[in-house]
């Protein structure tokens, strides 16, 4: 739980990415797929997010050259135990987006019942309840709401779930993990 297997790679978010990441960008698939409609939609989502996202405490931007890989940021909601903290997430859009959801994970250490030690998120709209009616903005807003309204019934982090009602200790763990992650990053 404390340290990720390869923190250096996991936390090297931001503007410079290690060269290895380049190879993870979508490669031409064996069958010709027209990706222009997908990148068109992603461009539109980016524009919409830049116009409105900031007010809502969420933002995202392509990470490097590819429009298929983004870095998002979520501000912890006011009055919640995540207030004042800012979380980085990675979003990887598949070539058949928006028929399939992007892969989203926390890049900042996040202590939460529905987030595991690797940053994986358990949220139905990112799995079987995904539909094309969602977009990057609604995904980030849903994750922001998830922070303050966890689903305690099927936790990925059962310690966090057990601690949820003990606000004092819970907040301490949230901060401890957040700043531990930051220390690793710098």
């Amino acid at each position: 739980m404390e340290v990720r297997s390869n923190p250096a790679a996991d936390y090297s978010s931001g503007h410079r990415r290690p060269p290895a990441v380049q190879s993870k960008q979508p490669l031409p698939s064996p069958q010709p797929i027209d990706t222009s409609s997908v990148s068109n939609r992603l461009q539109k989502e980016l524009m919409a997010l830049m116009m409105s996202g900031g007010d809502l405490g969420v933002s995202a931007f392509p990470d490097g050259e590819s429009i298929f890989t983004w870095i998002g940021t979520i501000e912890g909601g006011k009055g919640t135990m995540y207030e004042g903290l800012s979380y980085k997430l990675s979003l990887r859009f598949p070539l058949d987006y928006p028929f399939k959801p992007p892969q989203v994970k926390f890049e900042t250490m996040c202590f939460h019942p529905n987030v595991d030690q690797f940053g994986n998120i358990c949220l139905d709209i990112l799995q079987d309840k995904w539909s094309s009616a969602y977009d990057c903005r609604t995904i980030l807003l849903s994750i922001q709401s998830l922070l303050e309204e966890p689903n305690l019934e099927s936790p990925l982090n059962s310690y966090a779930a057990a601690l949820w009602n003990d606000k004092e200790d819970y907040r301490r763990m949230v901060h401890k993990q957040y700043f531990a992650g930051e220390a690793l990053e710098s």
Partner: protein, 301 residues
């Protein structure tokens, strides 16, 4: 059937998430590997049943049940008197929408009914407005609307962009067209249900124990979610298109005689053009064959 599925879905939420393999193994798992594997699976599926199959004589249906239930065979005999052919669709949870798509576009292509095209376009715009009013971001649905309208235009003959029946079949099998149109219908269906919440609420409560909005989010909008009478009613109402569903199941009536039930989904009267109201009422031009869990297209004699 739908209820059973819902339970299955629910059961999967937890485990699907917990066993999600690769997030921490992104570095080891090449995109190209996953893509190749996915497209291999899809290609294999497609070989078995394309999204929309060829037109087959109705006797191909009887062949399926040769050693099966005598009631079904008797019913197929009854069907054989009224229907000439069947066109199968892939059982991927989208079969109702896919059958509807092909059947409707094929009808327009064959009859070149300009009045019908004008009428449906007006209804499509109403759906667009409904989605806007409901707060859907334009960018999430506009591509699907545009692609459907493009297909509608292309089946009108005598233009540069006109397509043949053969091309319509090919496009219906092409995922990049077919899935977009299916998703368009899902948006239209969802908008209609949410626009008339009071009307649909009792039906939805009968199926699942959720709110109307939750039902749309989890059982209408995601691809692959199967359709029930709620979806059919909503789509028929939204677009103003009557749909006949013929039921092929093991049920039999007490009187002993074998008959095949059907139900006509008639759009609300206000949506039908007055002049053609009666003729439309007599002849839904879309006929689907329902077998528990699946829809195919039927062609009347």
């Amino acid at each position: 059937m739908q209820n059973k599925e819902a339970v299955l879905e629910d059961g999967e939420i937890g485990s699907a998430t917990a066993t999600e393999p690769g997030f921490d193994e992104w570095d080891n798992f090449g995109d190209e590997d996953i893509m190749q594997q996915q497209s291999a699976i899809q290609a294999e599926e497609a070989k078995k049943v394309p999204f929309v199959g060829d037109k087959e004589p109705l006797c191909s249906l009887a062949a399926e049940y040769q050693s099966g239930s005598p009631i079904l065979l008797q019913k197929i005999k009854v069907l054989d008197e009224q229907y000439a052919a069947i066109r199968r669709t892939r059982g991927d949870g989208n079969c109702f929408f896919r059958s509807f798509m092909f059947s409707y576009l094929e009808h327009i292509l064959e009859f070149q009914d300009q009045a019908e095209i004008d009428r449906i376009k007006a209804n499509v715009e109403k759906s667009r407005k409904a989605l806007q009013t409901l707060g859907y971001a334009e960018l999430t649905f506009e591509d699907f609307f545009a692609l459907f309208l493009e297909q509608l235009e292309s089946v009108i003959q005598g233009k540069e962009t006109s397509i043949s029946h053969e091309e319509l079949v090919l496009r219906s099998r092409d995922q990049s067209v077919s899935d977009y149109v299916v998703m368009f219908f899902r948006f239209v269906t969802s908008a209609e249900i949410q626009k008339r919440t009071e009307f649909f609420e009792p039906f939805i409560l009968g199926l699942t124990n959720t709110t109307v909005e939750q039902f749309c989010k989890s059982s209408v909008e995601p691809m692959g979610e199967e359709s029930d009478h709620v979806h059919i009613t909503a789509l028929s109402d939204a677009l103003g298109i009557p749909i006949r569903v013929v039921y092929l199941d093991r049920s039999s009536c007490d009187s002993g005689g074998v008959s095949v039930n059907h139900h006509d989904f008639m759009p609300m009267a206000s949506d039908l053009p007055n002049a053609s109201c009666s003729s439309v009422k007599n002849n839904p031009f879309i006929t689907l064959l329902y077998r528990p869990g699946h829809y195919d297209i039927l062609y009347p004699k």
